[in-house]
């Protein structure tokens, strides 16, 4: 039993703004970009055709570029996902390590065929 807050077939806009935190069991599916104004807790899930931006702590499962777009990125104030997927690539946090206390926003993207995570730098 999941509560899809927005379903993929309700498309129309290219980007959707979710103005709440996602708790365990809640999902957002959208063919475009997804912006969350809040946290994404463990057990919550976002599946987006485009980019994902989380203005809070990202601790759940996220899938950007779910329709195959390898240029999709995932950005969060605190990037600590359970699992992170971009297009057909899947990564997870290393086993047995606590999430490091990183206080800067980070971005995940595919570069040379692998998912890389780095400090988010405002493009000039």
């Amino acid at each position: 039993m999941t509560e899809a807050i927005i379903k993929a077939d309700e498309a129309g806009e290219n980007t959707i703004l979710v103005q709440k935190s996602l708790r365990s069991g809640q999902t957002v599916e959208f063919p475009g970009n997804v912006v969350i104004l809040g946290d994404v807790n463990p057990g919550a899930e976002i599946i987006a055709g485009g980019h994902i931006v989380v203005m809070g702590a990202l601790r759940g499962v996220v899938h950007a570029g779910a329709l195959g777009d390898e240029t999709a990125t995932i950005t969060a104030f605190q990037l600590e996902p359970t699992q992170l997927r971009i297009a057909t690539h899947i990564t997870r946090s290393p086993d047995g390590t606590d999430a490091p206390d990183i206080i800067h926003p980070e971005i995940a993207m595919i570069r040379n065929g692998v998912v890389v995570i780095e400090k988010y730098v405002v493009p000039k």
Binding site: E3, R23, S24, D39, N41, P42, A57
Partner: protein
């Protein structure tokens, strides 16, 4: 007109029934008219925790089926005149109770009692939906375990989706020494995820086990730390401002010596 509180958690075994018994008794000690409703049909045990098992004649299923009047099914507590229990059925079909029944029952009880406290079964299925149907407010119980916090988060989401906004949180079975040693989730870590108001913190206390087995809620025990925590929680429920109690354990002489010599 009274208030209907549902006590829920998602995960089993975190202390819903113990919390219900202690909060109900605590409110009765403050002179409120209280009724507790056990909605865990088939696995009832609130009656056991309250020591009222041998008094049950009718139960909640009898009431909704019209086999008896509501008054006949209410069991008066053996310590407090102003406290009653509506027990769950143990052997009857649990699908005979619906959300409409629960709403009607809550309205009826609310008219006669200051507080109606509903003990919710574990899980998020039929029994959970019934338990929350007639509630005005929800109290979510969790323990400092990743699985319990995950389920509490799920439950808070479901409560909010059902219109029970801003539930209150009780964190049960905190062990201060383990938190200090970094071996147990700290209150702040849990609050960061769950982001709801904290109603109280209950320490892991041997007296709870003893009192639960005896059928005498710990809240009546002046010397019990957990009992003190529940007394504070009940005072917060009736609207008093009570600061969170310190869970620091007093150091014995030997502990102090050990600290002095830097060994643990």
């Amino acid at each position: 007109m009274g208030e209907v509180l549902v006590i829920t958690s998602g995960k089993g075994g975190v202390g819903k029934t113990t919390s219900t018994a202690n909060i109900g008794t605590g409110l009765a000690m403050l002179g409120k008219q209280v009724v507790m409703v056990d909605t865990d049909i088939g696995l009832r045990n609130l009656d056991v925790v309250l020591g009222l098992e041998n008094r049950i004649v009718y139960d909640i299923v009898d009431v909704v089926r019209g086999n008896c009047r509501l008054k006949q099914a209410l069991i008066k507590d053996k310590r407090f005149e102003n406290m009653f229990l509506l027990p769950a059925a143990q052997t009857k079909d649990k699908t005979s109770v619906t959300e409409e029944h629960m709403k009607a029952l809550a309205e009826q009880l609310k008219a006669e009692f200051d507080y109606v406290i509903i003990d919710c079964p574990a899980g998020i299925e039929h029994g959970f939906k019934n338990a929350i149907a007639g509630a005005d407010h929800a109290i979510v119980v969790t323990t400092p375990e990743v699985s319990a916090v995950r389920d509490a988060d799920r439950i808070i989401g479901l409560l909010e989706a059902s219109g029970l906004e801003s539930p209150k949180l009780i964190i049960n079975r905190i062990r201060t020494k383990m938190v200090q040693a970094g071996d147990m989730m700290a209150v702040d870590d849990m609050m960061e995820i769950l982001a709801v108001d904290l109603l109280g913190i209950v320490p892991d206390d041997d007296t709870i086990v003893i009192s639960t087995n005896r059928g005498e809620p710990a809240v009546t025990d002046e010397d019990s730390k957990a009992g003190q925590a529940y007394r504070n929680i009940t005072r917060r429920i009736i609207g008093e401002e009570v600061p969170l109690m310190s869970l620091e354990e007093k150091q014995g002489f030997l502990d102090k010596l050990k600290t002095l010599f830097g060994s643990k």
